[in-house]
């Protein structure tokens, strides 16, 4: 069973979201990193770029495949985790510490569409079979 912290929100495409005021911090879940395997390269968005909910905005590339990361929310990228450039395996080792980017949300009501930990655990379990 993969780790799904109760305090976070999730998407069906395996991103996690931590909310602090109008800022959303985004990463990929333990389940996602386990499926992809060892990360070798992570491409992050430019700070200042605006995305609509569902836009592809980052790439995580593992030994197995390249995978798009989708912006769970609309808004502007205000910070990216540049340390991952030299240390992509941090996403494997600590998926919930190794955030990818932070977004200043333009529509906080989109948070209502996110999954809670229980629901996401079900999605991840179905996905494993």
């Amino acid at each position: 069973m993969s780790n799904v912290p109760a305090e976070l929100k999730y998407t069906k495409s395996h991103e996690w979201i931590a909310v602090d005021g109008d800022t959303a911090t985004v990463g990929i879940t333990d389940h996602a990193q386990d499926l992809l395997g060892d990360m070798v390269f992570i491409e992050l968005p430019d700070v200042g770029t605006s995305f609509e909910k569902g836009d592809d905005c980052a790439v995580v590339e593992s030994v197995k495949a390249a995978s798009d990361v989708y912006s769970p929310l609309s808004g502007e990228v205000i910070e990216v985790n540049e340390a991952l450039a030299d240390n992509p395996e941090a996403v494997n080792n600590e998926p919930y510490v190794s955030w990818l980017f932070k977004i200043k949300m333009s529509d906080a009501s989109q948070l209502d569409d996110m999954l809670d930990a229980n629901t996401y655990s079900g999605v991840a379990a179905d996905d494993s079979h």
Binding site: G37, E61, V63, K64, A66, E89
Partner: protein, 361 residues
């Protein structure tokens, strides 16, 4: 569900992610694929390769038959136990399979074919064996473990008793010996020293457990692929198949042209390709930028397209992405590869990328 090897339950208990490979359920990785790769380069790891096809050719015409069906010449094998790498060709010069053949005595040659090609290989050799006085036997209930890495020899020795221990320690590279039920060769598919052990399925779990006790870690097909890619070794079905000849696959060195009178299957077609000059060749590429080369990406040389990555991936030893690519013949310097919609520069290099644990680039 695919076919299972005698070690299937071990893989599950050890937490392997399983994957279909040529109709077999095989371990992709047990934990981190990159750690498994380094384990083999730096110490010793073991692979379940029981899916591979072990076939014995016996009888007085065996050598004569193998001279006909293999592009390399088994007459190079004169000492008992000596191994030879070769392709088996169709009449048009394309590759049915690549394999290792071991000469044991004049009435016994052992061949290890690939797993995914088993049915067509057996049909092919049985059809062509009809005029010869010989038998083709698949020993039943066999298993096979490859143990690879700089410490592989010492650790394999530690799990067997004398006199087997001393005799396998004395095995020369690319040579095999059999000890009762055990058939051990100093061969592999990683570019490291080590052994491949063919043994009865009833014994394989004990040997696997003993090797594990010596600190030999299990390695999945994921690391097997990155290890062989670094070592410059082709994979059948990716780098060559029934649409390509050895001359376009970096395997010209395995074709024995002498003596001229040896009329092996595919010879006349290959001679034609050789005299006209093959249009393509297989080269090594190193990606300069960040990203990963993947199978089937398009390669362009001096504005001319038509090249393709045949095997690509991340090289843990180099810390960069590497690949084999089939490209137009007169390539040198650099080329461009379309990686996720972007044209990225790759350097053309001589193979292998890695030898004995160290980058040679």
């Amino acid at each position: 569900m695919g076919k299972q090897t005698p070690l299937y339950d071990k893989h599950i208990v050890m937490g392997a992610k399983m994957v279909d490979f040529g109709g077999w359920d095989m371990p992709l990785r047990y934990g981190s694929q990159i750690e498994e790769h380094h384990q083999v380069r730096n110490d010793a790891g073991m692979f379940d390769v029981s899916h591979m096809s072990v076939v014995d050719f016996t009888g007085s015409d065996t050598r004569q038959f193998l001279r006909k069906v293999f592009a390399n010449n088994v007459d190079r094998l004169t000492t008992s136990g000596k191994a030879l790498y070769t392709c088996m060709l169709k009449p048009n010069g394309t590759i049915l399979d690549d394999l290792i053949v071991y000469f044991m005595d004049e009435n016994w040659f052992r061949v290890v074919f690939n797993a995914s090609t088993h049915d067509k290989d057996l049909a092919w050799v049985k059809e062509h064996a009809k005029p010869f006085n010989m038998e083709i036997i698949e020993p039943p209930n066999m298993a096979m473990i490859a143990v690879q890495g700089p410490n592989a020899r010492a650790k394999v020795g530690a799990v067997f008793d004398e006199p087997v221990r001393s005799e396998i320690a004395a095995l020369a590279p690319f040579t095999a010996a059999h000890f009762g039920d055990l058939f051990i060769s100093r061969t592999g598919y990683t570019g490291e020293d080590g052994f491949e052990i063919i043994l009865p399925a009833s014994q394989v779990n004990d040997v696997w457990r003993s090797l594990y006790g010596e600190g030999v870690k299990p390695i999945g097909l994921g690391a097997r692929d990155s290890l062989r890619l670094e070592a410059g070794m082709n994979l059948y079905g990716s780098d060559m198949d029934e649409t390509t000849s050895p001359l376009e696959s970096g395997l010209g060195w395995t074709v024995a042209w002498e003596p001229e009178g040896r009329d092996f299957i595919g010879r006349s077609a290959l001679e034609k390709i050789r005299s006209e000059g093959p249009t393509h060749k297989l080269v090594g590429l190193i990606l300069e930028g960040k990203g990963v080369l993947r199978n089937h990406q398009k390669v362009t040389v001096k504005g001319q397209d038509g090249g393709e990555i045949t095997s690509g991936g991340f090289s843990p030893t180099l810390g960069k992405s590497i690949a084999f690519a089939r490209v137009i013949k007169d390539i040198s310097g650099t080329c461009k590869v379309e990686v996720r919609g972007q044209q990225m520069v790759a350097t053309v290099v001589k193979l292998p990328f890695v030898r004995n644990g160290k980058s040679v680039q």
